[in-house]
């Protein structure tokens, strides 16, 4: 028994402690901004944060807050409060819980600090536009919208011109809201740090190519926080450098994220925040490791479009061509690349009632993957925050059946996955 505990202890990622410290300090900083005279901007998760960092504005992410609400199982209460305010229960649960948190200061950290401005980028969905309009009316603060035309099959020349023009509008907006000039040299430095952070994050995720994978998607859901909230800072770069070193160590000593890795799976969509532990244990108990996911890799998916020496000049394209702002066939192509890269045996797709742009089209992605890679897929019907949309029994049955199918396809003893190990 003692030996078992020891193995479990060995598998724990040590950087977790550091991450918790950083995030706590970050939220204290944000919550005390009023006393320290710093400005606070609320920004969407796919939004252009680097200019805010360059202007010394503290970025606050209602979506990260939503994840915290979900993880602390406070989602149902806050969603119900929003429904009492007249919002349909079919609306995004991040939006619902944030909207009801604002007037009640509810949630795990007693609400977010009041914003001085709002920055909304619709590259992830149309929901954020409506959500930020509501908060702009509630807090009576200026709202900047970065409108990134959807790239069904292309990023057109006219769309590029349009978004590029908005980058300058954004800078003008920030200069007005902050009452100071925008420092382009500082911006260039922040841009370089952002790219460096993204590269390191991608490297961290790529360590999962090894067998056994030193981290799983469930770990990535946690360590993602900094690339979202503190992208463009030295802190994020330092943290991911440290995390990468730990992952390399784990690879060298053969420490895997799950005790006995037999099957390698890919997760699609946002996490089910209130059930990450349950799901993680459920898969791990049968030797299934979620070695990759489309969610946490979305924060470094635009690296191919960036010029780190001309961040401002290339950010229009980076922010427009992100994973959720592209056609279903292009998404399928990217999933396929990940399947090949990480040696994936099956897909686990979270059909998330809260997120239509992420979920509608999943069935077609599954079909394409089945046809072109012959791998089985599992759909989990749930929600990222609202526990009322989670039925444990049927989900458990489906997971078991899926793992059974994987076992039948590849009897024990044969090597896991294909390709790059």
């Amino acid at each position: 028994m003692a030996e078992k505990d020891e193995a479990k202890e060995k598998r724990k990622i040590k950087a977790v402690k550091k991450m918790k410290e950083i995030m706590t300090a970050y939220y204290i900083d944000a919550k005390t901004a009023e006393q320290t005279g710093k400005k606070v901007a609320w920004i969407t998760s796919g939004g252009p944060v680097e200019p805010l960092i360059a202007m010394d504005v503290i970025p606050v992410y209602p979506e990260n807050h939503g994840a915290m609400i979900g993880a602390s199982k406070m989602g149902v209460d806050l969603c119900e409060k929003a429904e009492a305010m007249g919002y349909s229960s079919d609306l995004c649960s991040y939006a619902r819980s944030d909207i009801s948190c604002a007037p009640t200061n509810g949630g795990p950290i007693g609400g977010l600090p009041r914003p001085d401005m709002l920055v909304c980028c619709n590259n992830i969905c149309g929901t954020v536009l409506k959500w930020y309009e509501i908060q702009a009316r509630y807090f009576k603060v200026p709202l900047f919208i970065l409108d990134t035309p959807f790239c069904h099959t292309e990023f057109s020349a006219e769309a590029k011109r349009y978004v590029q023009g908005q980058i300058e509008e954004y800078i003008a907006f920030l200069e007005k809201a902050c009452g100071k000039r925008f420092d382009r040299d500082r911006m260039a430095e922040v841009g370089r740090l952002s790219v460096e952070g993204q590269r390191l994050w991608q490297e961290v995720l790529d360590t999962a190519i090894h067998r056994p994978a030193p981290l799983s998607a469930f770990d990535a859901f946690f360590h993602l926080a900094l690339i979202v909230t503190l992208r463009g800072t030295v802190q994020a770069v330092d943290y991911y450098r440290m995390l990468l070193a730990e992952m390399k160590e784990r690879v060298a000593s053969g420490i895997g994220a799950v005790p006995e890795e037999k099957y390698r799976l890919l997760w699609d969509n946002l996490p089910v925040w209130f059930r990450t532990k349950w799901l993680s244990e459920k898969f791990a108990a049968q030797g299934a490791c979620l070695v990759a996911d489309t969610y946490t890799s979305a924060w470094c998916g635009s690296l191919k479009y960036v010029d780190e020496n001309d961040f401002l000049g290339t950010m229009a394209e980076c922010y427009t061509r992100i994973y959720l702002n592209i056609g279903v066939d292009e998404m399928a192509r990217q999933v396929m690349e990940m399947v090949d890269k990480y040696g994936v045996d099956g897909l686990v797709m979270h059909s998330n009632r809260s997120c239509k742009p992420y979920s509608l089209g999943q069935y077609d992605i599954q079909r394409i993957l089945r046809e072109q890679r012959g791998i089985p897929t599992l759909t989990i019907e749930a929600d990222m925050v609202d526990e009322r949309s989670f039925s444990e029994g049927p989900i458990e049955t489906r997971i078991d059946a899926f793992l059974e199918l994987l076992r039948e396809r590849r009897p024990a003893g044969e090597p896991a996955g294909r390709g790059n190990g």
Partner: protein, 393 residues
């Protein structure tokens, strides 16, 4: 009225009508979604724009592509296409609307083999100079590419001709809309619905003729009743021909929402003692409001109307634009209550309802929300809800 009868007859089988139109005239049929589809450009290319709604058949094939939390409009349209019911379409145009239509476009492109496919990725914000330029760019490109697909060169004159037809339709519907506000009951709500729906189906030249005929006839009727009322007032006799009988008259209701494909809703409101005197619907006033400047550069003028017409909640033009419009409409139409028609799973509308209701509360105007999945609730239940609402006014 003969004009309305003709529309009603066609709407019994709109697909059949369009198939016949195609066979007889040889016109290409272009399916559209959303009221931001530039019908003028499609018409100018010699093609026929046909708005798709889903025929309401049971969802079977679309289940394999779309989850249950996707609205019935999107699921229904895909079902029709997968079942081959829309095989007469020569192409489809998807203006950028909401997250669901956006994904519908992808799924359509990957699964419906026939016809050309256009994504018109319009700007979402409409209140900046950059957005205006981009809107013009998108329309210019659509003009060129549609012309190429259909093998025609779309000239400025073609566009001006098409703009004139669309403006005639919009003007005639606006005249009739004014009458339903001034003389509630002069035509039934379901007749008004028939006209607006027909505007998205009929050959547009014919639609313009019919609507102008209907508008003239109704204006005549209103004038008669006005004269009758004046005469009655002079002689002290009862109400004139066509006028409501004495009493407080129906409660003046406004409808607000997205796509409303349920003519019965008008009938039930009327039977409950109300009358729809105006609307802010995607299939109503948002479709026909605002004219395109016939003297200006045609594409620029089409863009200008899109930027300035009554806004859809999936687009942004300021923080209170929709509430301001609704309150303005209420005052103009002397509305006494608002019914929000909400298609289940329609996010942009669902997000706006609380703030719109708050604005109405500020005006002391009662409102109610009717959420519909694909069919209206049972008639008895609907009647009770409307009766209660009308009594409250």
């Amino acid at each position: 009225m003969k004009s309305i009868d003709e529309c009603r007859e066609i709407l019994k089988d709109p697909d059949g009508y369009v198939r016949r139109l195609k066979a007889e005239s040889g016109r290409k049929i272009v399916g559209t979604f959303c009221s931001y589809a530039p019908e003028e450009i499609i018409l100018a290319a010699g093609a026929h724009p046909y708005r798709l709604f889903g025929s309401g058949e049971k969802i079977r094939l679309a289940e394999a592509h779309l989850q249950s939390y996707c609205c019935s409009l999107v699921r229904g349209a895909l079902e029709d296409a997968l079942a081959g019911r829309l095989d007469f379409l020569d192409g489809v145009v998807f203006p950028h609307t909401c997250d669901s239509i956006q994904r519908l476009s992808d799924i359509w492109r990957l699964n419906i083999p026939s016809g050309f496919h256009f994504d018109m990725v319009l700007p979402v914000k409409l209140d900046t100079e950059g957005a205006k330029r981009y809107m013009v760019d998108v329309l210019m490109r659509f003009r060129t590419e549609l012309g190429t697909k259909l093998g025609v060169n779309i000239s400025d004159d073609d566009l001006r001709g098409a703009i004139r037809i669309c403006n005639r339709i919009r003007s005639a519907l606006t005249r009739i809309d004014r009458l339903r506000g001034e003389r509630p009951g002069i035509l039934s709500g379901s007749d008004f619905y028939t006209l607006t729906r027909a505007a998205m189906v009929l050959e547009r030249g014919r639609a313009a003729d019919l609507f102008e005929e209907a508008a003239a006839e109704l204006e005549e009727k209103a004038k008669d009743s006005e004269t009758g009322r004046e005469r009655a007032a002079e002689t002290g006799a009862g109400p004139g021909k066509g006028e409501e009988t004495a009493g407080p008259g129906p409660k003046r209701i406004l409808l607000s929402g997205g796509v409303c494909n349920h003519p019965d809703i008008h009938t039930v409101i009327e039977e409950a003692g109300g009358a729809v005197v105006g609307d802010d619907l995607c299939t109503g006033a948002r479709y026909y409001s605002g004219l395109v400047d016939e003297a200006a550069d045609p594409v620029g003028a089409i863009a200008m109307r899109m930027l300035t017409r009554v806004v859809c909640p999936a687009k942004h033009r300021g923080l209170t634009d929709r509430a301001d419009h609704l309150v303005r409409l209420l005052r103009e139409k002397r509305g006494q209550g608002v019914v929000f028609f909400l298609l289940k799973f329609c996010d942009p509308h669902a997000f706006d309802i609380p703030y719109l209701r708050e604005a109405l509360d500020g005006e002391g105007i009662p409102s109610m929300v009717l959420e519909v999945e694909d069919r209206l609730p049972a008639e008895g239940q609907l009647r009770t809800r409307f009766e209660t609402f009308v009594e409250m006014i």
